[in-house]
């Protein structure tokens, strides 16, 4: 049960952050507040997968 790992990776060469939820869903965000909001919305973020910005 090490499934509760939330990760935020700074996308190389960009200003974007990619959030990776323990459920496997990913999301690209413009800032840390947005990325944590999305990660903590689990499990209600299914629809937002790949819904990142620009």
């Amino acid at each position: 049960m090490t499934s509760a790992l939330l990760q935020v990776v700074w996308s190389p060469g960009s200003d974007h952050l990619t959030g990776v939820c323990h459920c496997g869903a990913e999301y690209r965000a413009d800032g840390p507040v947005e990325v944590w909001q999305w990660l903590l919305a689990h499990p209600d973020h299914e629809a937002s997968i790949e819904a990142g910005i620009d």
Partner: protein, 340 residues
């Protein structure tokens, strides 16, 4: 009070607790520490049950504490065994005792009511291990502990606040990876720098002349223990395929972040190294320059606390990418505070 309770906190270094009475307020609770003849560290509420005189202002009678006001006398377990001018000791004459554990050269105290499980104390084994040399100190901070957490979670400030010591331009320019282990309650922030400038702090202590590969791996175990695993190696020196990294230089930077009052903090700082073990000049250099770095933070955070005190309720700050780990730490601390 606004602190996470039912938690272990670093109260002191082992050598600070001895014959003398040590008074320290932890999470708003005044506590007196001392060591018994058998060598055990003891922590009692620093308030006499009679008229609340601080017991730390009294004196010892062997393992007992004698109140400096009217002489109530307490055993290390908090029981009152003598009161002036009468033989009957009131049944309620007892001061609260705090669970204490000494581990990794630190004196940990349990603040709270629940189950004080020593197995829950986070580890920093380098502080007390063969093959490492440690320098350390403690600076009292006139600022809330959250400001120190923010400060340590975002090392890009090294470039600006600690230029000439540990900061080089690359620190602020290098992206970070952040993770939160929700179950273990640990925040990790990693920054890997390849072929970068070596800051004086490491050039002078390791003797490396050229450029370096520099890794910073933060591991924060809220509320109290912050570890920064720092790896410094000549540029291009990779760990071996089996993971052996003994050719690199390692520094384990440890902070005990202990709230004292709502706006003051104990900043316990330690640097353990696995190189130049027999070189007292390196020890002196690291002790002095790390203290300088810590004081740069202390001055900045004390200033910030003053600013916060004058600002209107609900002031909105701005967070950017470098704050990803700091925000995660704040959330875990908030959760711990709410639960306690």
């Amino acid at each position: 009070m606004v602190f996470p309770r039912n938690q272990w906190y670093v109260a002191a270094y082992g050598e600070e607790v001895g014959e003398e009475l040590l008074a320290r307020t932890i999470c708003g609770e005044p506590i007196v520490f001392y060591r018994t003849g058998a060598g055990d560290a003891v922590a009692l509420a620093d308030r006499c049950v009679h008229r609340r005189f601080p017991l730390s202002e009294g004196h010892r009678d062997g393992d007992r504490l004698v109140c400096g006001y009217h002489g109530f006398t307490y055993e290390p377990d908090g029981r009152c065994v003598a009161v002036p001018a009468q033989t009957r000791i009131p049944r309620t004459a007892r001061v609260p005792v705090y669970p204490v554990v000494e581990q990794d050269s630190l004196v940990w105290v349990w603040i709270g009511d629940g189950d004080a499980d020593p197995a829950a104390i986070p580890r920093a084994p380098w502080l007390d291990a063969e093959g490492w040399v440690v320098v350390r100190g403690m600076e009292p901070l006139e600022a809330r502990y959250e400001l120190l957490v923010d400060n340590l979670m975002d090392l890009s400030h090294e470039t600006y606040l600690h230029g000439g010591y540990i900061g080089t331009p690359e620190v602020a320019e290098t992206p970070i990876t952040t993770s939160v282990d929700e179950e273990a309650g640990v925040v990790r922030v990693s920054r890997r720098m390849k072929d970068v400038e070596c800051p004086p702090f490491y050039a002078n202590s390791t003797g490396i002349k050229g450029r370096i590969d520099r890794w910073q791996d933060i591991e924060y175990q809220p509320p109290c223990l912050y570890l920064l695993h720092s790896r410094i190696a000549p540029a291009g020196l990779e760990p071996a395929p089996d993971g052996d990294d003994s050719a690199a230089f390692h520094a384990e930077i440890v902070y005990g972040i202990t709230p004292s009052t709502e706006t003051t903090t104990f900043d316990f700082w330690m640097v353990a190294r696995d190189f130049a073990l027999d070189d007292p000049e390196v020890t002196t250099y690291l002790a002095e320059s790390n203290r300088t770095v810590v004081m740069q933070d202390v001055v900045a955070l004390n200033l910030l606390e003053k600013v916060i005190a004058t600002e209107p309720e609900g002031y909105q700050e701005l967070s950017i990418n470098i704050d990803t780990g700091g925000l995660a730490a704040r959330r875990l601390l908030q959760r711990m505070t709410d639960e306690s």
